[in-house]
């Protein structure tokens, strides 16, 4: 990719990701509703919601909230841009973590018990998912010798062949990142929560819209990550993404919310098994079977 391509990709991401993710969210809500025996909202509902939120009055518990949310949105976008311009995968992951930390800090700064508990739980979720994300990057590195997404993308054989564990692990943490049951600890889209809206409790109107927007960017980024596993075969990749997303919806609709203890334990164990396992096996295969 030359520079113009990169810049173009960056802008495309900024412009198209919300549209894609919004549609996906709309679809998600319809499919969920159907699974619940309901008709569900119109496809464009997420957009209606988003734009409405931007029109609401701005209320907050203090004046510093928007600062952190801005950081959240900004660094999520940067992470996405870094990713879609073929940048460095580790930097992408770090930027994403930075964005999440901004989000968490915003909730902490609100100084309200519910958003605080939500923030703590969000941190637990980040802690549960972060190792796997890093390991996916490591997996790509072992398989391709580079953290550069450009190089990973250009791989002639699909990475799913060598990194099936990583793929599984990524699907697993995608459930966490998309805030789906059973991992919707810190906040959840619609089902009720013991901590009300958790981390987003104190963010209203436009602020909530910013969160939603950032979440959309993040979703696209994660789906992009999944895409990389099938990069040489775009059709298969899209089919795989559809299947994965459907499974996420299904999981959301067929599970109760679980405890943080369970989430953390299960995530780390699963990560250690599929992520580290895959990494180690691959390492020894690459060495030609001689440990």
């Amino acid at each position: 990719m030359n520079l113009t391509h990169r810049i173009l990709a960056g802008f495309l991401f900024i412009a198209l990701a919300p549209i894609l993710a919004g549609l996906l969210a709309g679809l998600d809500r319809i499919v969920s509703a159907r699974m619940q025996g309901r008709i569900g909202p119109p496809l464009l509902q997420p957009f209606y919601d988003l734009f409405k939120l931007f029109q609401k009055e701005r209320i907050a518990v203090n004046r510093s909230g928007h600062f952190f949310l801005l950081g959240y949105l900004l660094f999520t976008i940067i992470a996405g841009v870094e990713f879609f311009t073929g940048g460095d995968l580790l930097i992408t992951i770090f930027a994403l973590a930075l964005a999440s930390v901004f989000f968490v800090l915003g909730a902490f700064a609100a100084g309200s018990p519910y958003s605080h508990i939500g923030a703590e739980r969000e941190l637990i979720q980040i802690m549960a998912s972060e190792p796997m994300l890093l390991m996916v990057a490591m997996g790509f590195y072992v398989a391709t010798g580079s953290f550069q997404i450009g190089a990973i993308y250009a791989q002639p054989t699909p990475l799913i062949a060598t990194l099936p564990g990583m793929f599984l692990g990524l699907i697993y943490i995608l459930t966490i990142k998309l805030r789906k049951s059973p991992f919707d600890l810190s906040t959840s889209h619609h089902a009720h929560q013991e901590i009300v809206k958790g981390i987003t409790t104190e963010f209203a109107g436009p602020y909530l819209a910013i969160i939603e927007l950032a979440h959309w960017y993040e979703t696209v980024l994660l789906l992009g990550l999944l895409y990389l596993f099938f990069a040489p075969w775009p059709l298969l990749a899209i089919a795989a993404l559809i299947v994965v997303y459907f499974l996420e919806i299904l999981a959301d609709n067929t599970n109760a919310r679980l405890y943080w203890q369970w989430v953390l334990r299960a995530s780390w164990t699963f990560t250690a098994i599929v992520g580290a396992g895959n990494l180690i096996i691959l390492h020894y295969i690459n060495r030609g079977g001689t440990p």
Binding site: G37, T254, A256
Partner: protein, 359 residues
Amino acid sequence: MANRTVIPFGPQHPVLPEPIHLDLVIEDEHVVEAIPSFGFIHRGLEKLVEKKDFTEFAFIAERICGICSYIHGMGYCQAVETVMGIEIPERAKWLRTMWSELSRIHSHMMWLGLLADAFGFENLFMACWRLREGILDVIEETSGGRVIFGAAKVGGCRRDVPDDLLARIPAQLKAVEDELRAVTNVFRDDFSVRQRLCGVGQLSKQDAYDLGAVGPMLRASGVALDSRLDGYAAYDKIQVEPIVETAGDCWARTMVRIREIYQSFEILRQVIPNVPPGPVDMKITGSPKGEFFARLEQPRGEVIYYVKGNGTKFLDRFRVRTPTFANIPPLLKMLQGCQLADVPVIVLTIDPCISCAER
């Protein structure tokens, strides 16, 4: 005190459809202390007996609660009837039994949904409430209201149910029951549901009995106590076995209620074809004088109506002790040391009905 978080849980809280408030003291997510507070729904309707005469008071009794509305109306009437020495017509007894059981089914199905909502299982909530509509249809068609039946009156029932309608109901119920199996299987077998229910909010048999727990709460802890065995209305002519589980945890309570739903379907199968012909109400003359304690089985357990009449149209005292009220002390016990995530689940497994409890 070092690392304890103190938060108000409620009164406005999405998982609690009704306002109750808990002062929660938590450490990480362990609940160290939980003190409930009440009075958000306290109306003081018991004192309305001084303003409404004893026949009109049936309307108020029905509105003690919109979930267990019918049995409230009926229990009040039953207490007054006993004081007045009235034996109501046979058909009225059978209809009362039918409505009681319908009310139990709708209440339990509603509760199952709310419980699912409490542990974040939206789809299960929807599934329960979708099927519940089938029961509400039957209720509305027979009584005229979806939640407030408006069918109880001193001396019988306020309306009759035509026989052709009675003949149609069993099929309607059967359809709901068949579909319900798949949903209740989820409560029984699903991994995540069991994670959230098994071993949570344990209440030992002794504690349950000593603290005065009633209804499914008590039965889930292994005490076979069901006021329907007292044989009011037509219950003396049908087979009722108390449903008992022994684990005493949230899951056991769920199982008790689920099994009670099927039991109620079974009872309805006995009742509906056997509703005898005849009048459904009778003329009331005079006013109640004397006192009586009526004991009935609500969906949430044993309910007590105490009526004291002085020979005028206005009672001296009407009192209802609702099952939720009796289940509050055990609730306090169960909340100690649970997880924050368990708080709504535990609160819900007593099947709290605050408007009943506070009147």
